[in-house]
């Protein structure tokens, strides 16, 4: 574990001086159907932002748009560099990394090989054409952080579901991404695995911008520093966990009609979780 001087806090822990991601008027149009319309997000380094919302709210589409998987209009700038319109691998090289709902590690390769590939986007052909020798310090650190040091030589395909997700997060770390977009990282995990994942996000969130798309409200309450709620492709609320839970618009979205307070949100959330599992 690294020495965490900075805990992630709402609004970021270092102000506007360093890395940030600024999304303005992001709109994704699928043949006339606006999956995401006019979304604004401002994310500073050191924020652990949760992106929640009912199914079909456009959470994953926002991540897809930021990472260049779907084309969008509006603006996404990372520390002043416009990302929209760049290709997927170029955006990745600007330090925006993501995971997917289904863990997508390279199952035939070992844990170490997975991490080594993730760390190598800037390698020259000369380096590529030679053999891997030794383990990069950054990879050793990541292995330690995600708790897979003992499994480094195992093929990633034999890892447990939770371990695969951690490996993916480790790959983002060695990729040197400072904006991490995680799509339902704890889906399908056991309670202990969720706990460990949350702590992992806390540890890495201090020095990076982490966005987590999540359905699990308990998980969100335990680890989020700030929350953005999406519904029908639009941002309907943003703030701390308590602020968002108290927001009548959010309650309405989750309950359909009558607001029933924070407990109501809980009930809706557990319903959602059941739907998803």
């Amino acid at each position: 574990m690294t020495d965490v001087a900075k805990e992630p806090v709402a609004g970021g822990n270092v102000g506007m001086g360093t890395e940030y991601l600024e999304v303005r008027g992001l709109t994704v149009d699928f043949d006339g159907f606006k999956a995401v319309s006019d979304v604004d997000l401002t994310l500073f380094q050191g924020d652990l932002r949760f992106l929640i919302g009912p199914n079909g709210a456009g959470k994953t589409t926002v991540i897809d748009a930021i990472t260049g998987l779907v084309s969008a209009s509006g603006s996404v700038s990372k520390s002043g560099v416009e990302l929209l319109g760049k290709r997927v691998h170029q955006i990745a090289r600007h330090g925006v990394g993501r995971t997917f709902q289904t863990a997508s590690v390279f199952e035939q390769l070992t844990v170490l090989q997975n991490l080594d590939i993730a760390a190598g986007a800037g390698r020259s052909w000369w380096t590529l054409l030679r053999r891997r020798s030794g383990v990069l310090p950054a990879i050793e650190e990541a292995l330690d952080l995600i708790g897979l040091t003992d499994l480094a030589e195992k093929p990633a395909g034999v890892l447990a579901h939770g371990q695969k997700q951690w490996l993916e997060i480790g790959m983002l770390l060695v990729q040197n991404a400072d904006v991490l977009l995680l799509d339902e990282p704890v889906a399908g995990m056991s309670h202990e695995e969720r706990e460990e994942t949350g702590n992992l996000l806390r540890r890495i969130g201090g020095e990076r911008t982490v966005v987590v798309v999540e359905h699990d409200m308990d998980f969100m309450r335990a680890f989020a520093t700030s929350v953005t709620v999406l519904a029908r492709g639009q941002v309907i609320a943003e703030g701390s966990v308590a602020e968002v839970q108290a927001n009548p618009k959010v309650q309405e979205v989750y309950l359909g009609t009558a607001a029933a307070g924070a407990e109501g949100l809980d009930a809706a959330a557990s319903e959602l979780i059941e739907e998803n599992s």
Binding site: L109, D116, R131, P155
Partner: protein
């Protein structure tokens, strides 16, 4: 997948191969059989490239005949010009018969041996690189890529049949000399075999380096998760095009050696059927391994000769059946079968490490 063979085992492997190819084979085989083995080694060179592109890179290259043919025809053109020069004739024999009075413009550079060797390396490489980038950048893959590459092979064969200046469907034949050495002399034919054997060893060494390098790991990653690799900051097209180009280069070199060894090159040797035939040995030997494709190509070609000498018409059915059985039931080929047996033996012994490996169980259960 942990191809971690120690350094001395590698050298020992190459030493054994060298002893077999340069010592044992010439000693025990007749001149005729040695010539056949030389042909098989050419197939093996093509197979090494297919193993890299298909086995490791997931690109089903159904059209290697194109590059094989390019190499073979370019070499053939040079040999025909050289033969004509020795006999003080302006054009090769088949052009005289066809009534072509002087060398066509595109033939003239091939009078130079240096240019010919240069072209055999550079032209197929350039074509493969341009074609590969065009195709892979547009994210054409899977069956579409396979069909496209096969269509190219068909187009190439059809194009060649129509070219009177390349001998039409007869192709180029009757080579008498190879860079000044008379091909009627068995010693020179043996030299050709040695060149093919040495080339194969070099190609295997290069393929091994490509497979075991970081590039090789990346290539497997692209094969198994092209989109994921993109999100790590790589352009998969650039990764794939290198393996595709290497395979094309190997095929071209193999073709250039094949033409003088067998003594002719025709459109029938570059079309769809030979392109698929290249694949059969690779699939049977084990496409993801280094030596599987090489040994598979030699083995299938050898078996083809043996069987078709005794049962000329049955072999083609046996070959088809073998291909279906291997692709359908042993996708990893014979090399994969070896791994399977080793794992079974290990499982029967009391396992020293109690790590559950679902992969193993799955393979065991399906067998």
């Amino acid at each position: 997948m942990k191809p971690f063979v120690g350094r001395w085992q590698t050298w020992a492997g190459f030493a054994v191969a060298a002893v077999v190819l340069f010592g044992v084979a010439p000693a025990v085989l007749s001149s005729f059989r040695l010539g056949l083995l030389g042909q098989y080694l050419c197939y093996a060179i093509v197979a090494a490239g297919i193993g890299l592109a298909w086995g490791r890179g997931g690109m089903l290259t159904l059209g290697q005949g194109v590059f094989f043919g390019l190499g073979a025809y370019m070499m053939g053109m040079h040999l025909k010009i050289a033969d004509a020069e020795i006999r003080k004739q302006a054009v090769p024999d088949f052009m005289q018969i066809a009534g072509i009075p002087e060398l066509p413009g595109y033939w003239t550079p091939f009078a130079s041996p240096a240019f010919t060797l240069f072209a055999i390396v550079v032209i197929p490489t350039a074509i493969a690189a341009i074609l590969g980038l065009g195709v892979f950048k547009r994210r054409v893959k899977g069956a579409y890529f396979a069909i496209l590459s096969q269509a190219l092979a068909a187009a190439m064969a059809i194009l060649l049949v129509g070219q009177a200046t390349l001998g039409g469907s007869n192709g180029l034949n009757g080579f008498r000399t190879f860079f000044g050495f008379a091909l009627s002399d068995p010693v020179n034919r043996q030299m050709l075999y040695f060149i093919a054997a040495a080339t194969l060893l070099v190609v295997v060494a290069v393929t091994r380096q490509l497979m075991q390098s970081r590039y090789g790991e990346l290539l497997v990653a692209v094969r198994d998760g092209e989109e994921r690799v993109r999100f790590l900051g790589y352009d998969p097209a650039n990764i794939k095009v290198v393996a595709y180009t290497a395979a094309a280069l190997f095929a071209s070199i193999a073709g250039a050696l094949f033409a003088p060894i067998i003594g002719f090159i025709t459109p029938a040797q570059v079309g769809i059927l030979p392109s698929i035939a290249f694949l059969i040995g690779v699939a049977i030997g084990g496409r993801t391994t280094l030596l599987g494709p090489v040994l598979g190509a030699v083995g299938v070609a050898w078996a083809q000769t043996l069987f078709s000498e005794r049962f000329p018409s049955e072999w083609i059915y046996a070959q088809g059946l073998l291909f279906i059985v291997v692709v359908g039931f042993f996708p990893a080929g014979l090399a994969g079968l070896g791994v399977l047996l080793r794992r079974r033996r290990r499982r029967r012994d009391p396992a020293p490490e109690p790590d559950p490996e679902p992969e193993e169980q799955k393979v065991g259960a399906s067998a």
